[in-house]
Amino acid sequence: MNKRNGIPGIRTVPSTDLPVLKPFNAMPAGQPEDLLFSRWIASTPKWFWFALCATILVWPGVTAAASGYTMTQAFQALWRWIPFIVTGGFFYNVLISFLAMLIGTAFGVVLGLMQISPLRLIRFPAQVITQVFRNSPWLVLLFIVLLALPFEIEIGDKVIRIPDWIKAVFGLCLPIMANIAEVVRGAIKSVPSGQWEAAESLAYTRQQTLWQVILPQCFKRMIPPWMNWYAILTMATPLCSLLGVEELITLSRQAIEAENNRPELLVPFYGFALLIFFAYCYPIARATIALERRFAVKL
């Protein structure tokens, strides 16, 4: 540094008492993708893990001062319950998010394609459905589906019970469907109109243009927002606990109750819930970014 700034042969840094505009190192201008939820998770600093673990570890110690319940006891309780919470609880969070995403994506793609139909009769209802489900609170949709769907279906003389978690899948797949529809529509609209014209002038039909020219280009554009919605959906699955679906939070609450509702247990148990969600979503977020980089193509 000195060498470059100084006068050759004289090893002093140039200095002045006049006001000087120092080099300004602003962060590079943000991309819209930086606002994505998965981006935000992936960019969590490393110390966050330690801070989270430390809080979980320290909390019982703080509360122990006020009661006879020791830290060791609190963690022994958590340790006892972890297998139950994970296999009977978190497993369902993952299952619900997975199925809701699968069904939501399937319907969302159809809905998104309907939205760009040249026929108003198809386009208009699709737009209405999308806007309604996109702008409804998820919890309300969950309540409606849970209360509207029957407990059991009779097929002939057979009675099939519908478990709550399946209803939760249907409830959550509605907003996902609407949002994926927007992702699909947005991706299609983001393809330059010249691509449509070029295909048209090569005698492609609209269908052929869509499937062979437009959609293959959309696929890559859709992956980051799609994974972003998956991360959001996974984070939303604890909503189901409000409706009594057996999942991570429901079981954590039950476990705390079984341990006599000791306040010292709150942070270890819910902290564990935070950790396990974070541990699940963080790799997904990192993978989203890795995929984005790999698919970054010059147009």
């Binding site: 014209e197 002038s201 090569l202 005698a203 492609y204 039909t205 280009q217 193509v297 147009l299």
Partner: protein, 251 residues
């Protein structure tokens, strides 16, 4: 109406009193021109004079309000127009190349004949390689459009259009987005085509090229053809004041 009734002695493209508006803005105000088979026609004129719109109407990319456009006897201004049949006869090259970025150069050329004309992939590939060689891009078959320069992409776009075996080629300001060094390689390609007897209609700002290649030049301004003629008389003995003014600014 049908292709059978059309013979080589009639114009391959016949435009009669075409009117076209975008909303309240009338872009074409009664344009008429004929193009014979094998002819090279250049359309020049200031920006916004309706050149590109006219050429896009021939391909039914834009519809017209009144008048008639016939391509080999097919009436374009017809509700029952079979657009696919028309577009098999008319190839088009755009200013922005519009190659499909997810396909290699070779695939770009091969796609339409295989998917649209249902020709056998082996035959199409052989022809596509010949076309790529013809536009002087041997060795670039497996390159993606993003890896090619503007001029190279534009030549792939020409090859892609030729793969459909069109009878008429439309060029819509194909060199306008290129840097001066690569303009020449594209123009050479078009010249080769014209010399082989392909019917070409070009919208261009390359006056020198138009003079060299065109059989007939049309000058449009504010939606009408102001002046037209073979290049020799057009450039040297323009009668209309607007044409002379335009030419003096450009040449």
């Amino acid at each position: 109406m049908s292709t059978q009734s059309w013979t080589d002695s009639q114009p391959i493209v016949s435009i009669k009193d075409v009117h076209k508006s975008f909303g309240n803005l009338e872009v074409l105000k009664g344009i008429s021109l004929d193009v014979m088979k094998g002819e090279v026609v250049c359309i020049i004129g200031p920006s916004g004079s309706g050149k590109s719109t006219l050429i896009r109407c021939i391909n039914a990319l834009n519809d017209i309000q009144s008048g008639s456009i016939e391509v080999q006897g097919i009436e374009v201004n017809d509700k029952a127009l079979n657009k696919l049949e028309l577009r098999k006869k008319v190839g088009m090259v755009f200013q922005q190349y519009n190659l499909f970025p997810h396909k290699t150069a070779l695939e770009n050329v091969m796609m339409a004949p295989i998917k649209v004309l249902k020709q056998s992939p082996a035959d199409v590939e052989k022809r596509a390689r010949e076309l790529i060689a013809k536009v002087r891009l041997q060795g670039k078959e497996e390159s993606y459009p993003g890896e090619l320069s503007g001029g190279q992409q534009q030549r792939v776009a020409i090859a892609r259009s030729l793969a459909m075996n069109p009878d008429v080629m439309l060029f819509d300001e194909v060199t306008a987005a290129l840097d001066p060094e690569t303009v020449k390689e594209v123009l050479v390609t078009i010249k080769d085509l014209a010399e082989e007897g392909m019917t070409c209609m070009l919208v261009t700002h390359e006056m020198g090229f138009a003079k060299e290649i065109a059989d007939h030049i049309y000058f449009t301004d504010r939606g009408v053809i102001v002046e037209h003629g073979p290049p020799t008389t057009f450039f040297d003995q323009a009668k209309d004041e607007r044409t002379r003014e335009f030419l003096s600014q450009i040449l």
